[in-house]
Amino acid sequence: MTSGVYRWMLFVVFALALPSVSWAGYWGAENTNMPVGVTEISGEVHALHMRMFWWCVAIGAAVFAVMIYSMFKHRKSKGAVAADFHESTTVEVLWTIVPLVILVVMAIPAAKVLIKMEDFSDSDMSVKVTAYQWRWQYEYLDEGVSFYSQLNPAHNAARQANSDIDTEQFEHYLKDVDNPLVLPVGKKIRFLHTAADVIHSWWVPDLAVKKDAIPGFINENWAKINEPGIYRGKCAELCGRDHGFMPIVVKAVTQEEFDTWVSEQKMKTAAADMDAIRQWSKQELVASGERVYQANCASCHQKEGQGIPGMFPAIAGSDIATGDIDTHITTVMNGVNDTPMQAFASRLSDADLAAVITYQRNAFGNATGDSLQPSQMRSLRHGMRQSALDTPENNFKGVN
């Protein structure tokens, strides 16, 4: 029996050693260890992590070595006779004091890094990050630029159950977005985190920042990126059905590139204003609406508008999408309290709102024939709502 035990032990030692060795090969691999990152803080955090790791390996190795030695040496089958000692004040005091000293040695550098991380003063610019189910809104408070950022639509299509799209064709599957957060390098950037619905958490490992976005409260955080590049992160706090599908992409660029990008963004805003004024054809509205629907509505109401019974109502044949258009507009703009249905008034442009409402009223077998112009949405938004709602037939129906 003894040799049997030995054989088993050897087997297990090898079974456990093999993955460890393979891990050593993987040591620096991006799928196995914490990244060093591209900020001073992320480098220090990585150093802390590795130092703690080696401490733990050393402590574990020492304890297990004594145990394993004892298991081989002090076994009955080898004729070991049990000693009778069962206490020793000296040893017990020693193994209380020594760990305490080790803890102090560990705690001091950790506290230093923490104090640095929590110093939000003297920032060069501020970005407000608002989390939604399931996208991010970035507002550059000093530049007046603002936009939404969500999962790359191609990835979004591929990740649907039974999509039959090979996800391996996307190198950054589920780690890519439509509009990345563009930031200048070498600047201390202060992030202000909040959320519109539930708690989320904005995490970019390469910047060593992770902070919860809490509805009704604002949290601070900061990063100073050293190298231009693309850094990818994820929402870290469970936030509902599509928690796994709200990535973050930070594109760090030089100051000049950043300035150019800011002016481009301002031009885009102006173009969106033009869109809201011109007359759209119904085909245009439906085509654009389908895109908006798939990006914003489909994760709950589903691709074909069928919803999920008991959880998310259907759009197909629903009272709201086939009934009075005013109720439909109000629901989309203001959301529904105490449900995951959010207020889209601040989230979508006039053109997108008009398009998606038109689409919902003419797709999935909803044959209302209605169409809604972006300019009408703009009037509603600008306080001309009541007069518009008084005569809905004249305003909203039969435009085309």
């Binding site: 799928n31 992590h49 089958s77 070991a80 000693a83 599957y173 958490s201 809490i214 469970l238 019974p309």
Partner: protein, 537 residues
């Protein structure tokens, strides 16, 4: 049975089965016998172990490769939530209560628990509570999917089945508190003369302290979920900023319960291992006194570390420093325990029967989980680790090869006493080795993907995480199915096997080994004589 019958003539008719169990189902429904109730608890938790394990396999199947293959993300979230609730409240806690019921009276020389009718209720609430909890999976609005931590506002988006979840949690809590009161009352009032506190086995000590943790924290949890209930259905806004509340306040209240809770899940395991290692090392437990003090220190510290679960919520610096230091402190008494176990083995005369294998497996793998816990205590690093698979790896190491292994060790250790038969030693060892290999294949790679940036509670991921996730899934199915062997060994042992002596193990110490195997329906009806030289631990 005969001698005790005479001693306890209460004026009943002296039928032969006077002190034996009732027949049929009613025996189990109406029983007030600590051994019957212990058995009920243990079977209940074994059944729940397979339900919770089935959920884990659904999770691992979905995570086996990138892309969504089997389940909707919403159902996936229900599975992670339910898996945790079932494993914590339905497996580990009831199993420890079952062991407490069986063993504490026999260990301290008491005839039964102090409050036998309360004991019956403590158990019989559980199956109803879990029926309600699990039934939400079949309701229109689905099971809870906001994580077992029930953070608002997310959890408040749940449909009407939320009310059932809260109701079930209340019942589980009532059951735990009643069970704890019973254990405290038993330990304080039922010890025979001579059985001083410092003569009690460690398992009794750890349970005494655990029972206090439960009594102190379960009402806090009950308060927190009641506030969720009124926020959801009665228009209050405890946790909504729009009404002057604060969602983070829930996290503080929850973790004030939640952190002591994790010690509730591990302290009795410490007690079990402290009983088993001396038996198979044939040497008394090293540092008994310091073991008692270490357990008490851990319990005390567990109340002042809760916010280390919340380092990313935007706490002030002073708070982060305090909770970092207090959390690191826990490693001192925990270290004392590990060192004491090693010192107990040192210069012993060891044999490696299945309970000892599981106990050693516990010490090694629990220590691995404890060391990653020390890494997690370092706040700046925790900001990177938080809510990733590194955390998942950490708590599964302390709970699966930790708490669950202690339960398996306890089963193999005491099953000869319960059934009167020895289990199949060969199969027991096989069960240990298969489980140990697969449990590491399952959980070790989770450290890597967590460090590399994979958040927890996600149903789909990028291809760079694919290799490790596939390995973990292989480990999960291996570990899951090898537990069928455990059931087979138990069934085989109940049916028959080598007859067990009353001592069972050569190095066994303590009063439970002085009664025959199987333990008669009633034990210690007459208080055992205990003096300074009696070995009770």
């Amino acid at each position: 049975m005969s001698s005790s019958d005479h001693a306890h003539d209460h004026g009943h008719d002296d039928h032969d089965h006077h002190h034996g169990p009732a027949k049929g189902m009613m025996r189990w429904i109406t029983t007030t016998n600590h051994k019957d109730i212990g058995t009920l608890y243990l079977w209940f938790s074994l059944i729940m172990f397979f339900i919770g394990g089935g959920m884990a396999l659904i999770i691992r199947a979905e995570l086996g490769s990138p892309g969504l293959q089997f389940v909707d993300p919403m159902f996936f979230n229900s599975m992670t939530t339910m898996h945790a609730i079932v494993m914590i409240f339905g497996v580990v806690m009831p199993a420890f209560v079952g062991l407490a019921n069986w063993m504490i009276p026999m260990m301290i020389g008491a005839p039964d628990m102090a409050l036998p009718r309360l004991n019956n209720w403590s158990f019989w609430i559980m199956p109803f509570a879990f029926t309600i909890m699990l039934s939400t999976l079949f309701m229109d609005s689905g099971g809870p999917a906001g994580g077992w931590t029930l953070y608002p506002p997310l959890v408040l988006q749940m449909g009407d089945s939320f009310a059932f979840v809260i109701f079930a949690i209340h019942f589980m809590g009532i059951s735990s508190v009643m069970g704890s009161i019973n254990i405290v009352a038993t330990i304080f009032n039922m010890r025979p003369p001579g059985m001083t506190m410092m003569k009690m086995p460690m398992f009794v000590w750890t349970w005494l302290i655990t029972a206090y943790l439960l009594i102190a924290t379960i009402p806090v949890f009950a308060g927190a979920v009641t506030m969720l209930l009124t926020d959801r259905f009665f228009g209050t806004s405890f946790f909504s900023a729009a009404g002057g509340g604060d969602p983070v306040m829930f996290q503080h209240i929850f973790w004030f319960f939640g952190h002591p809770e994790v010690y509730i899940l591990i302290l009795p395991a410490f007690g079990i291992v402290s009983s088993i290692i001396p038996t198979f090392a044939r040497k008394p437990l090293f540092g008994y006194d310091s073991m008692v003090y270490a357990t008490a220190s851990i319990a005390f510290l567990s109340f002042i570390v809760w916010a280390h679960h919340m380092f990313t919520t935007g706490m002030p610096l002073a708070g982060e420093l305090f909770f970092m230091f207090s959390t690191m402190m826990i490693s001192v008494p925990t270290g004392v325990k590990v060192f004491n176990w090693v010192a107990t083995m040192w210069r012993g005369s060891m044999t490696f029967e299945t309970p000892m294998l599981f106990a050693i497996g516990f010490v090694i793998m629990f220590t691995i989980g404890g060391l990653s816990g020390l890494m997690l205590a370092i706040t700046p690093a925790d900001i990177q680790y938080h809510d990733t698979y590194f955390v998942v790896a950490h708590f599964h190491y302390v709970l699966v090869p930790g708490a669950i292994y202690s339960l398996m060790a306890a089963t193999y250790y005491w099953i000869p006493k319960w059934t009167g038969n020895m289990y199949d030693e060969k199969l027991g060892k096989l069960h240990f080795w298969i489980s140990t290999i697969f449990v590491n294949v399952l959980f070790f790679p989770m450290h890597f993907v967590g460090l590399a940036g994979m958040p927890r509670r996600i149903p789909d991921y990028n291809h760079i995480f694919a290799d490790w996730n596939f390995i973990a899934t292989v480990g999960a199915f291996g570990f899951g199915f090898s537990q069928l062997l455990f059931v087979y060994i138990i069934m085989k042992c109940i049916k028959g096997g080598k007859e067990a002596t009353s001592e069972v193990w050569e190095g066994a110490r303590g009063l439970e080994w002085t009664v025959p195997s199987p333990a008669p329906y009633h034990t210690f009806e007459q208080a055992p004589a205990i003096d300074a030289n009696t070995v009770t631990r």
